[in-house]
């Protein structure tokens, strides 16, 4: 990969968030990163409205039966090189919904995950740290 490309990716990652059967707490904490207290825009990061413009995909929630197809299609729509960060315990291991009839499998069996950010919900600082850790994988 061209070095200037990697530099661009690391300096200004565009982040797309997909909430798949989440309780929305992680989603609110992700939105919180935009607010003045945490302000991810000073790091060059920004939340985008379409997966086709994204570099990093944030996934939250347990991904119930209805959402699996959507998750796969969103993943395919994100152009390479792409990074996936699982936000929250639900996306990492399904938390306490493991035995539900509407739960199928954890996110990393549906799409490859690069970084796991556990927490219920993880604090905005942890989310930012998770994205930064994912970016370090881009060598």
């Amino acid at each position: 990969m061209a070095n200037w490309f990697k530099w661009g990716l690391k300096k200004s990652p565009w982040v797309y968030h997909l909430g798949a059967s989440a309780c929305n707490n992680c989603d609110i904490e992700i939105l919180d990163t935009l607010t003045p207290k945490f302000d991810i825009e000073r790091f060059g990061m920004t939340l985008v409205g379409s997966p086709r413009h994204a570099d990093v995909l944030l996934v939250s929630g347990i991904v119930n039966r209805q959402c699996i197809e959507r998750l796969k299609r969103v993943y395919e729509a994100v152009p390479k090189p792409k990074l996936v960060v699982a936000i929250g315990v639900c996306a990492c291991t399904a938390n306490m919904f493991r035995d539900s009839y509407n739960f199928t499998m954890p996110v990393d069996r549906i799409i490859p995950v690069d970084v796991y950010v556990p927490g219920c919900p993880p604090k905005p600082e942890a989310i930012i740290a998770g994205i930064v850790k994912a970016l370090e994988k881009v060598k």
Binding site: N64, R65, Q66, Y101, N102
Partner: protein
């Protein structure tokens, strides 16, 4: 207005009223009487429709209609049992449009058929969920006798 007295005056022996406390009143009614009773509570006594609870009791499905009298601070829960296998109950949506979604949910989760409902389509379950699988049903056993005994001891 004393709600318990009003119900007893109008329905007499057709219902069984249990006043657990001032806030919690439980009324057991027969299936044919239930819609009429709930509609009367809503229209004439100005109760607020809160929700319907559906419980699988193996020989049938128990439906509890929760009606709230906010001004008096009393929640009246009208309980009735819908027998299997027909599981048919007249819809409440012609009187209370707000009952639309909960009837759809009870239909897909427990299998109760609300007759006259404008559209008993799926609400929460995915479209490819198999027909005839009702997630909220309890495990059933071989004979009706055994089911009734299990229900008693549960």
């Amino acid at each position: 207005m004393n709600i318990v007295d009003e119900i007893k005056n109008k329905y007499g022996d057709r219902v069984e009223v249990r006043e657990k406390s001032k806030r919690r009143v439980f009324v057991n009614a027969a299936q044919p009487d239930t819609k009429e009773l709930v509609s009367w509570l809503f229209r004439d006594l100005a109760a607020r429709f809160s929700i319907i609870t559906g419980i699988d009791v193996r020989i049938g499905v128990e439906l509890i209609y929760h009606m709230s009298f906010d001004a008096q601070g009393t929640l009246v829960s009208v309980r009735t049992q819908v027998p299997k296998p027909e599981l048919a109950m007249p819809t409440l949506t012609d009187v209370i449009p707000g009952a639309n979604w909960i009837e759809r949910e009870i239909h897909e989760m427990l299998g109760v058929n609300f007759i006259g409902h404008p559209g008993l389509t799926r609400l929460l379950l995915p479209d490819d969920w198999p027909e005839g699988e009702y997630p909220y049903r309890k495990k059933t056993y071989g004979s009706e006798q055994e089911n009734a005994e299990r229900e008693e001891s549960d």
